[in-house]
């Protein structure tokens, strides 16, 4: 994958030598940049409109897809990835893949903190409402905290241990 290749452009600079001597990237027209900008604005309005419609779980997915489309537009046209050296796109793809890995494996841990255990009928996270010591003490509700917190496990306050927010 040697990339000492030259720019294969039809520009008039044609001195030979180690690859194309002069630097001349592809120059887009006003119309092209304008069109991309309009598309970006349209997507922004779309994502705001979709957000007001209550779609349940799909809302997050749609928002991410629209944002990714806008990001792709900016990368290919405004950042010239379309007519640039292919290795630059490879760097972007590598960065995005490793971010994906980071997301996937961390969420894999966080969202399954008690899944595996349910098959055997008991839970790692106490649903009995006992707060784990050192857990959430709501900074705003100062008054309730003062007299409520006698023994660490005594009070059965409303919010269960922070990460047991799902219902079974």
């Amino acid at each position: 994958m040697s990339d000492a290749h030259d720019h294969d452009h039809d520009h008039d600079h044609d001195e030979d030598g180690y690859g194309k001597d002069e630097v001349h990237a592809h120059i887009g027209s006003y119309k092209q940049y304008g069109a991309v900008f309009m598309a970006l604005l349209a997507f922004t309005l779309l994502t705001v409109a979709v957000a007001s419609v209550h779609l349940g779980n799909a809302n997050l997915a749609v928002a991410v897809i629209i944002a990714s489309l806008k990001a792709a537009l900016v990368c290919t046209f405004f950042m010239h990835l379309k007519d640039d050296n292919k290795f630059n796109s490879l760097i972007l793809i590598a960065a995005v893949t490793f971010i994906g890995v980071f997301f996937a494996l961390t969420l894999n841990d966080v969202s399954y903190r008690e899944k595996l255990d349910t098959q055997s009928g008991n839970r790692i996270y106490l649903e009995s409402g006992d707060k784990a010591p050192g857990s959430w003490d709501n900074p705003i509700k100062k008054e309730e905290k003062k007299e409520g917190e006698a023994a660490p496990q005594a009070s059965t306050s409303a919010s269960a241990a922070p990460s047991a927010s799902h219902a079974p």
Partner: protein, 340 residues
């Protein structure tokens, strides 16, 4: 009750290679895996090192150094890429299977709540009874530990059972094993949790010093009937000890010693020497406006159960709340009275 002669003959020199003597059912499987990888590693290291040394000596550079090309062995390359894959997948499978035995508890497991705190362990039995630094377990009964911590991350490590799990503040984690050997086995803290200033004595007799390294507890595996008898009566004064002596023992076991000195030396908390019955100047801002108070039974009682209620001037409100029974607090007060 087994005599508490703690650490002298504690862990006899390790039998299987260099693992501590096993005290749980699951440990034998872990030992088997450990020994298996141990042999595999020794084999590969010896083979590679022997080959290296032999070839280095055999192919020493001669005067006539006829530099020929390295031949190419594609099949060999593929072989030593694919074969380790199988071996490694087997290792993963075996490891995961044994790991699950220490993660999933049966329905009727004995549930012990373990709380790690800066530099001592406290255990709570199903009937609500709480003990520090000592844990009594019935033999051949699966135990499910519910671990938590109230300040920083500690780790409940029982080398004998090959079991370890972090105690994380703000969430519960579980650990499961079945002790099947009578006797005592140590519990260490495996996650770094700092150290107190100076060189105070540890909560557990004979344990090392230094905070994180002092955070040791003792598990006593006792026959079932003895465990039932122990669990029924609450913490009571061991025979042959006066109230004051029991108070002194509790002063050690509950790690009061880490912050409160008895000889007047300055520590993280106020000294107990000559404190009882005298007026105490409080930090009014932190004690709900109360200026000063005399150190009587009621003050000591409240300061043990709700330490943040009244804070002595010049000290930080860092004392954790304790759940001691009234008899235990009276014993501690008796001990305080002897400290003039």
């Amino acid at each position: 009750m087994i005599h508490l002669d703690l650490l002298s003959g504690l862990t006899p020199p390790p039998a299987a290679f260099d693992l501590p003597p096993a005290i749980a059912v699951e440990s034998s499987q872990v030992d088997w895996l450990y020994n298996m990888i141990y042999y595999v590693s020794i084999f590969f290291t010896v083979v590679i090192t022997a080959l290296m040394l032999y070839w280095v000596r055999k192919y020493r550079r001669q005067k006539t150094d006829k530099r020929m090309e390295t031949p190419h062995y594609p099949r060999l390359e593929i072989a030593w890429t694919v074969i380790p894959c199988f071996f490694v997948v087997f290792l993963f499978h075996a490891g995961f299977k044994v790991f699950m035995t220490q993660a999933i508890a049966a329905q009727d497991a004995l549930e012990i709540r373990v709380r790690g705190q800066k530099w001592f362990w406290s255990f709570k039995y199903p009937n609500g009874r709480e003990e520090n630094s000592h844990l009594y377990l019935p033999v051949n009964k699966q135990v499910k530990f519910l671990l938590s911590s109230s300040d920083v991350i500690h780790a409940f490590f029982v080398p004998g059972a090959r079991a370890k799990k972090d105690c994380v503040p703000g969430m519960y984690t579980t650990l499961v094993f079945t002790p099947n050997v009578l006797g005592e086995t140590p519990v260490y803290c495996a996650e770094y949790c700092g150290a107190p200033l100076g060189y105070p004595e540890p909560a557990l007799e004979g344990a090392p010093h230094g905070g994180h390294s002092a955070m040791m507890a003792m598990i006593h595996v006792v026959p079932q009937d003895e465990f039932d008898k122990f669990i029924k009566e609450g913490p009571k004064r061991p025979e042959g000890l006066t109230d004051a002596e029991w108070g002194k023992q509790l002063y050690r076991q509950n790690a009061c010693i880490t912050c409160h000195s008895v000889d007047g030396a300055k520590g993280t908390g106020p000294t107990w020497k000559g404190m009882f019955g005298k007026p105490v100047e409080l930090n009014a801002a932190l004690s709900g406006g109360v200026g000063n108070v005399t150190a009587d039974e009621e003050y000591v009682h409240e300061s043990i159960l709700k330490p943040q209620a009244k804070v002595v001037m010049g000290f930080n409100p860092v004392m954790p709340p304790y759940t001691l029974s009234d008899k235990q607090i009276d014993a501690i007060i008796a001990y305080m009275k002897t400290l003039e």
